[in-house]
Symmetry: C2
Subunit: 89 residues, 2 copies
């Protein structure tokens, strides 16, 4: 799997990420990974669900993993949760 097929979810509206996922599948991807961390995790789940239910009705969730990453900022190190949702067609 290449980085082309990863959609990183951040602060934009959820439909931006849904369209990014749909576009990857239309470009021939057989799997797209939706990644997010921190508060964007909820939006990543929304993006996966909306993509699957409304636009890619033949797609399915191939796997979901969660984890913890260390973030280093000016205020020191802190832990942030991450999620990876693999959608396959």
């Amino acid at each position: 799997m290449t980085d082309n097929f990863v959609v990183y979810v951040g602060n934009k509206p959820v439909m931006n990420y849904v369209l990014a996922v749909v576009k990857e599948f239309n470009s021939g991807a057989s799997e797209v990974v939706i990644k997010a961390r921190g508060k964007a995790i909820s939006k990543a789940v929304d993006a996966a669900e909306v993509s699957k239910n409304r636009f890619l009705t033949d797609a399915k969730i191939n796997g979901i993993t969660i984890g913890t990453e260390k973030m280093i900022s000016e205020e020191g190190a802190s832990n942030v949760s991450i999620i990876e949702i693999v959608i396959g067609k």
Copy 2:
């Protein structure tokens, strides 16, 4: 599995849910399910990760499922994403 072993994540601080998970395991549960919907999904992932990494180092994630639920409110029906994280010991 009984409802006793389900922790519903909502608006409280994440450590409240971590303690609820740890308490269930200390009461003899072999599996605890963390459930959340909407914006609380990020906090559910945090609760699972903190429980596993800091308090239950012999625990592991047995499964994660996401889905969509219809919510009926005064403003009509809307869809909300849900997550279920199964932690086992």
